[in-house]
């Protein structure tokens, strides 16, 4: 990697220009505007960028005088070494308290919520909503000042009957919305262990509600617990909601998953991230892998998930390149817009060029193939393989033995392509098939989501 990054462990405090005092002092009643994030104030100075963008072309050369298509990998990196203030959280925990959660699961959930409270500080806003047939606002959105009191509220949660995910989601989102501001990382975390059995139950309404929240700047994470929940629904909510999906196999793992979600939330460095390509003449988009792009004349736009410190997201695209005479061309310009959660500077922009050298020498073109991009194409193929295997299992057109063989092949492919975390998940699914636990799909669907969204650790 010869990438140069304009990110340094620079002194971030300077960008705030004396905002420290307000940050600590501004706890007036109802005053939810966190002091340090007044966009008008933070624009001064030259803060380093939270994100950097690498553009890797599938080949640095293209044949002059001929049309071709090539893959381009956009790699968005969130700075790893940054120290600075984090943006406060505006979090709602939406907990399923249906009958099936009774006992151990609910006790672990309470414990997990307690950990969440411990991780927050008094700049953060927390609300807790439970759902069964009806929805209860256990704790309306408020700053985490008296942690003991918050935990008391949580410990009073009792199991109920059915599962009304939709109303729970909407109630949770409206708690977040009641104090929503650009100065917060706004997130709803929904935990459920079952199919929706009350209220609005259809997939598209629930997933649509998640997408709607995202467009308001509130992201949704979906946690599925146990064997009964609907993994397609939860992945749909997380994908459209711009958050994460977790599959929790055993109740004692609930606190662990909450912790890992919190860890990520507390280290988000950029949100509202959009990648926009401005295509030059004679360049056309063929596809953006794993994303649904918004296409305009000569522009392509993709919305991306929030990025936590040190994370990388990869977006693989394929462009059709029209005939050009031998020379160097910028076939597209890539722009990334985002809100910087460390400096509090909104609508930041970085850009990079997608450049190809159109040459007459076919040998050069052959020699210019980029291995990183090739691997990424293989990973995209692996994601499709997993989908096919899942479909085969679901429709029972694929025997368990065949599915396992397919998965082993895909696992190897992922391993070779360097997606070791995903390879491990596939391994988990293979194990699930072997012991007949029936949870392979719940694992794999999350793997496909992460692969499609280009999340890689």
């Amino acid at each position: 990697m010869e990438s140069t990054r304009i990110i340094g462990p620079a002194d971030l405090g300077g960008g705030f220009g004396g905002g420290d005092a307000t940050q600590i002092g501004g706890f007036g009643p109802g005053g939810y505007a966190p002091g340090g994030f007044d966009p008008a104030r933070t624009a001064m100075g030259a803060p380093p960028q939270a994100l950097s963008l690498d553009v890797i072309t599938g080949n640095q050369y293209a044949q002059a005088g001929r049309s071709a298509s090539d893959h381009i990998l956009f790699q968005l990196n969130a700075g790893g070494g940054m120290v600075g203030r984090r943006m406060p959280l505006n979090l709602c925990l939406v907990i399923d308290r249906s009958g099936s959660m009774e006992g151990e699961p609910l006790e672990y959930v309470k414990r997990a919520c307690g950990h969440v409270v411990d991780l927050l500080d008094q700049n953060d806003v927390l609300s807790v909503v439970t759902f069964e047939e009806r929805v209860d606002i256990v704790m309306p959105a408020r700053r985490v000042v008296n942690k003991g009191l918050v935990k008391e509220h949580i410990n009073r949660i009792q199991p109920g009957n059915t599962t009304n995910i939709y109303d729970g989601l909407v109630a949770g989102a409206s708690q977040v919305a009641s104090v929503r501001s650009e100065g917060y990382v706004n997130r709803v975390v929904v935990l459920t262990d079952g199919e929706p059995t009350a209220g609005v139950k259809d997939y598209s309404s629930i997933v649509g509600a998640a997408g709607e929240q995202r467009s308001r700047g509130i992201t949704i994470t979906a946690l599925g617990f146990g064997p009964e929940y609907n993994e397609e629904l939860l992945v749909g909510m997380a994908r459209r909601g711009g958050g994460n999906y977790y599959y929790i196999t055993r109740p004692e793992l609930i606190p662990e998953v909450f912790r890992s979600e919190m860890e990520q939330l507390l280290s988000i460095v950029a949100k509202n991230i959009r990648l926009r390509l401005v295509l030059s003449r004679w360049t056309d988009l063929r596809q953006v892998y794993g994303h649904q792009p918004t296409i305009g004349p000569r522009t392509v736009e993709v919305q991306l998930s929030d990025l936590d410190r040190g994370a990388t997201v990869r977006i693989l695209t394929e462009l059709a390149l029209g005939r050009r005479p031998a020379a160097t061309y910028r076939v597209a310009k890539a722009e990334v817009f985002y809100d910087d959660c460390v400096t509090g500077a909104f609508n930041q922009r970085i850009e990079a060029d997608v450049v190809f050298n159109f040459v007459d020498d076919a040998g050069l073109v052959k020699s210019g193939v980029n291995g990183t991009v090739q691997r990424e194409i293989e990973v995209a193929g692996a994601s499709r393989n997993l989908e096919r295997t899942m479909m085969g299992l679901k429709t029972q057109q694929l025997s368990t033995a065949h599915a396992m063989a397919d998965l082993q092949r895909t696992q190897m492919l992922l391993q070779q392509a360097g997606a070791s975390e995903q390879a491990a998940e596939v391994g988990q699914a293979i194990h699930g098939l072997r012991v007949g636990s029936g949870d392979a799909e719940k694992t794999l669907i999350g793997t496909v989501m992460d692969l499609d969204l280009g999340k890689r650790k």
Partner: protein, 353 residues
């Protein structure tokens, strides 16, 4: 150098036009980053205060696409040409307006290359992200100035100027016509090529009499449905499917909208072609491969989805009765007559052998 990163610091003009690192350029051409050195760019320039004098702010016309660009640009804002990067100069590229292309409703253009471009939703030449487009939906073949559209067994059909192109058919599309894949409408531009000749009636033109002999083929056989009712089969291709526009309409949830085709020769010999149906076409319990014609023995039943049909040669078919009228035998069912009208415009299509 495989990878490059250019991060726009985004503040102030400090980075603007300043010499940048050489930039993945082969052969050291990178030194000529800024305009002014290349022949043909000698335009009156003025020095910008505060910049190096060699960086003259001159307007520049792109040598490749002829677009005028503001001064200090590194790349042509239109075609992306890096100024000065062509070692031996370039010949301007012909106006791209001359390229054959398909344009969608948003103005997005798909330039057609000579030969076949496959259209679909995934990993094809022309990717249309629309739920009504099949993964491999159809294909467009550019031969000289002629464009031939084919359907590859899509679910929602391929249309040229409003007329459906069935799998295995070849529909010629003319300049300015709308080619539709599923519900995605693309306008074909074939600069220099003629529009649809007047001699070929536009596909949407009404067709007053649909059963003229020679136009559609004569009535040669009947498809006998499980309930004993019959559909007329004409010499040539007869479409079978659930949708009302088919020649043989199946009332069967297992049948695809467009399921298969029964091709009947003049002597009543029937051949079955599955059109890529979801639930299959079966002969003797065996599923037929899609798009592979299979001959039907006389009296043999063929099953589309769950509906079994036999083909009966019409009495008085051209075999016995030369110069057949081609009209429906007996009193035609009015709804079926309507269906026939729907199907009839296929005669308007420009068919290639």
């Amino acid at each position: 150098m495989e990878e490059r990163t250019v991060v726009d610091p985004g503040f102030g003009p400090a980075g603007y036009g300043a010499p940048q690192s050489p930039y993945g350029m082969p052969g050291g051409e990178a030194t000529q980053v800024l305009p002014g050195g290349a022949a043909g760019y000698a335009q009156p320039g003025y020095a910008t205060p505060g910049y190096d004098v060699t960086q003259q702010a001159v307007g520049q016309t792109c040598a490749v696409c002829q677009t005028p660009n503001p001064p200090m640009e590194r790349y042509c804002q239109d075609c992306g040409f890096m100024f000065g990067s062509a070692a031996n100069g370039v010949t301007p590229v012909a106006d791209p307006g001359e390229a054959a292309r398909l344009t969608d409703a948003t103005g997005r253009e798909f330039v057609l290359e000579s030969g076949v471009s496959v259209v679909g939703r995934e990993s094809v030449d022309i990717v249309l992200m629309d739920p009504t487009v099949s993964r491999r939906h159809g294909q467009v073949r550019l031969e000289g100035t002629q464009v031939i559209v084919e359907d590859l067994g899509s679910t929602n059909g391929t249309f040229v100027g409003g007329r459906q192109i069935r799998p295995g058919e070849q529909g010629v599309a003319f300049h300015g016509e709308i080619v539709k894949f599923g519900s995605v409408q693309l306008t074909l531009s074939l600069p220099g090529a003629p529009a649809r000749p007047a001699a070929l009636p536009p596909p949407s033109a009404p067709q007053p009499s649909s059963h003229q002999p020679g136009e559609r083929g004569a009535l040669v056989a009947h498809a006998v449905m499980p309930d004993g009712s019959e559909f007329s089969l004409y010499a040539g291709a007869n479409s079978v499917g659930r949708r009302s526009g088919n020649d043989v309409v199946l009332v069967d949830a297992f049948a695809s909208g467009r399921h298969a085709e029964i091709q009947v020769s003049a002597d009543g010999q029937a051949t079955i072609v599955d059109a890529g149906s979801t639930n299959g076409t079966f002969l003797n319990g065996e599923r037929l491969a899609a798009h592979a014609p299979v001959t039907l023995a006389p009296g043999q039943a063929v099953t589309f989805g769950k509906t079994a049909i036999t083909v009966r040669v019409a009495e008085g078919s051209p075999a016995e009765l030369p110069a057949a009228t081609g009209g429906d035998s007996g009193a035609p069912d009015p709804t079926r007559a309507l269906n026939r009208e729907d199907a009839a415009p296929s005669a308007n299509a420009t068919m290639l052998p």
